[in-house]
Amino acid sequence: MTKLTVTTAQQWLDGFAAAIAAHKDYLSELDTPIGDGDHGSNMARGLTAVQAAIDGQDFAGLKDLFKAVAMALISKVGGASGPLYGTAFLEMAKLGDQDADLGHLLDAALAGIRKRGGAAPGDKTLVDVWTPVVEAVKAGSLTQTVVDDAVNSTKDMVARKGRASYLGERSVGHLDPGSVSSGYLFTALIATGVFA
């Protein structure tokens, strides 16, 4: 069982924010052929707000920390990514004070994402990254390869949700931008060393 603490969670979010800032243009480029070209700028605006909300703050527990993160994402990202990432952190906040087990937290987050967006595995959305990653975390076997394979698996899928679904077969051959940003989220989680 892997436990999360306020300190490791803050490291995780700092790492995620840094990755989004570094890949802002790349995420928007990925979003151009199959979306509307703004995933990078929307996520960067959201993560800047997240950092403003958590940097230098003392949080009593994961609940308060994740709630602050969720509210920053919900109120700053917009589009579909704001409600989806925001809901993920809100669901983790609900569990945070009773249960710091990472598998349970991420499981609750994924259930929230699926309920909010209605996507299933195979629809070419961030659910396709979260599903195998959460399974691996619960099995104690999350590695960078699991994350990378999950992100790359979206390339050959036909989009069935969101704006990319209007392209149908033409969405094949493109990585899903939300899956790529979720990949950064889990890469940042591994980098905190919680699994070491």
Binding site: S28, T32, D36, G37, D38, S41, N42, R45, I74, S75, K76, V77, G78, G79, A80, S81, G82, P83, L84, R116, G117, V158, R160, K161, G162, R163, S165, Y166, L167, G168, R170
Partner: protein, 331 residues
Amino acid sequence: MKKIINDPANVVDEMLDGLVRGYPQYVERIPNTGAIIRSNKASMQGKVGIVSGGGSGHEPAHPGYVGKGMLSGAVAGQVFTSPTPDQIYAAIKAVNTGSGVFLVVKNYSGDVMNFDMAKDMAELDDIPVKSIVVDDDIAVKDSLYTQGRRGVAGTVFMHKILGAAADQGATLDELDALAQKVLPNIKTIAVALSAATVPEVGKPGFELADDEIEYGVGIHSEPGYRREKLQPSKALVAELVGKIDDEQHLTADKQYAVLVNGMGATPLMEQYIFTHDLLNNLGDRGIKPAFTKIGNYMTSIDMAGISLTIFELADPQWLDYLNYPVETIAW
């Protein structure tokens, strides 16, 4: 990119301030939000509030339709990006006078999710809220395997109908029933000559050759169903009316309202030419529209192109609603 702006990051903020400062008789802005509400508060007393909104870049939609007889509030997100739930909720709270609030949402995953979250927030505060998701764009196949049809220019007719009914005292449940009844009668299809350039992106959302057009493009540069060489206006009309006829089965014994909508960079001169051809095409089918609107009502920044909306007036009262007087910037 050549645009009259200061900083691409500030376009929405500066646009909304310009809008409310230029038209204080109609609208005001809830500070630190993208929520634009009526300045005529007395006109909302005892009435159900109507709130719409969506990403920016569709001006005059949606704040241009805020005013007595139409919307009570409109929430503007970033360019082509849904507004956030806290801002939508701020508008709901500001226009609720005790009779509840009805939301008009266009069918995009972001808009649907953010408006749903705002609805949850309002319900926690005991404000009754109902909503309709408009999906009038027939270019997209309506199937379980897509997001479904997009909400586009026909949404403006929904605003007008509901706004008129609300002003005449319709209850939240009556507006809900009216919206459900109106929705399947509104059909829209577009043709694009060039794509929009989002200021923060700096280049067009897709490329079309100088002599190329694309049918069925959405209002955020979503792809359409066919590309071909540019055709004369008459041929464009024939294609678009034909597509709507496949869905709506246009007949001489029914009443219709039509909206010829410029996408942002198409001059009115071309829109009037298109309308001339449209009225000829419909005339050949024995149809004379009971109501016509021509102009830029639901744009896509600087996209060149036109969308055609045909609204079957299945209930004669809907024509009265369309003709009902409003006090707005843009209807």
